[in-house]
Symmetry: C2
Subunit: 208 residues, 2 copies
């Protein structure tokens, strides 16, 4: 795992701004441990040690390893949704403007919250059925945001794709995939990567 501190981008308070991750200590410790060794490969003892807590001290706040996973992935999805909603609230009214806003938000999130995205998607298998359902519901909400904008764009004639749902999934996949390859010390700045990938996402929906 990459342990360099994430770059900061955008003005503080903006949905574009990513400072260091602000999770409660036990969740930050669980995130690091799950990212490095996976959920099944991590012991509660290890999370406690990384958080500088005793095992009973950790259990006091999070009664199980599953509770840590659920709190962590819920926090991740809520941050993503919150940023996307804020991006949309600042965007202009046209589907093209709204598409750009939500895609940019998704791209930035997956640059600056790589480990979170990796753990959430990898450890869906480790979630108990009820928690997995709740997680999937949040993920579906994010996908619906994209799908509704693409449908509106097809309706208005701004987007020409004959396959809006499939394009919506492809665009989301592309944005999520950024977490797999983005490196803070790469050749291009986050803004340049946003510009290029946004252009590709627009092509994928047949934006005019």
């Amino acid at each position: 795992m990459d342990t360099r501190e994430d770059q900061v981008s955008g003005d503080a308070g903006s949905w574009r701004h990513y400072g260091p991750v602000s999770l409660p200590k036990p969740l930050a410790a669980a995130l690091d441990a799950f990212a490095e060794r996976g959920y099944d490969g991590t012991s509660i003892r290890e999370v406690a040690a990384r958080a500088g807590l005793s095992v009973p001290g950790l259990y006091h706040h999070y009664p199980s390893k599953q509770a840590l996973l659920v709190s962590l992935t819920t926090a991740v999805m809520n941050e993503l949704l919150d940023r996307s909603r804020r991006a949309l609230s600042e965007a202009g009214p046209t589907p093209s403007e709204r598409f750009d806003a939500v895609v940019e938000s998704l791209l930035r999130f997956h640059m600056f919250r790589r480990d979170q995205a990796f753990v959430a998607s990898t450890e869906m298998r480790s979630m108990e059925p009820e928690s997995r359902e709740a997680y999937v519901a949040l993920r579906d909400e994010q996908q619906r945001m994209i799908d509704e904008i693409i449908e509106a764009g097809v309706e208005s004639g701004e987007f020409t794709t004959p396959f809006p749902r499939d394009a919506g999934r492809a665009v989301a996949t592309m944005c999520i995939g950024v977490a797999d390859w983005y490196r803070p010390d790469g050749m291009l700045t986050p803004d340049e990567l946003v510009e290029r990938n946004l252009a590709i996402a627009r092509s994928a929906v047949g934006a005019l």
Copy 2:
């Protein structure tokens, strides 16, 4: 993990044909275990039990859990590369035809080899440096196949993307992502999904 048998598609012997996975028993057992519980969460004892072997019997062929992971991910990447090369060898000479062939091959692979793709990408973190390097080299070879075709298409004027490298990564990401959402009992057939996602991939490179 989904345990239903993968659907068969294409004529036997074709790069489009996917029968049941044909891995040596210990690798098939390791695949199932790693997919369900992750590399760190899996014991060599568990792999042996799933393979119907004693632990010494398993060690005779694979001296360590790491050896299982390396053999498995190498087999996965070699199957992918072999199918992509065969798809290209049957394709027409134009960049558009070659693009369609390699994208279709990637899409099908990630429909019918979901667990393999998941384990290979998730457990890169668990590979020792030398093995990871060898794995990444194979993955880069697959990416290069796509990139070279896109560059040729831009050169010939068939593709209009101003960002060929970024588009190449986006297309690969989209194809790989199929493993995350494809379900054999979904609404659309593999052929329909190939058609739609191929159309989206063409848009992403600005195919005329």
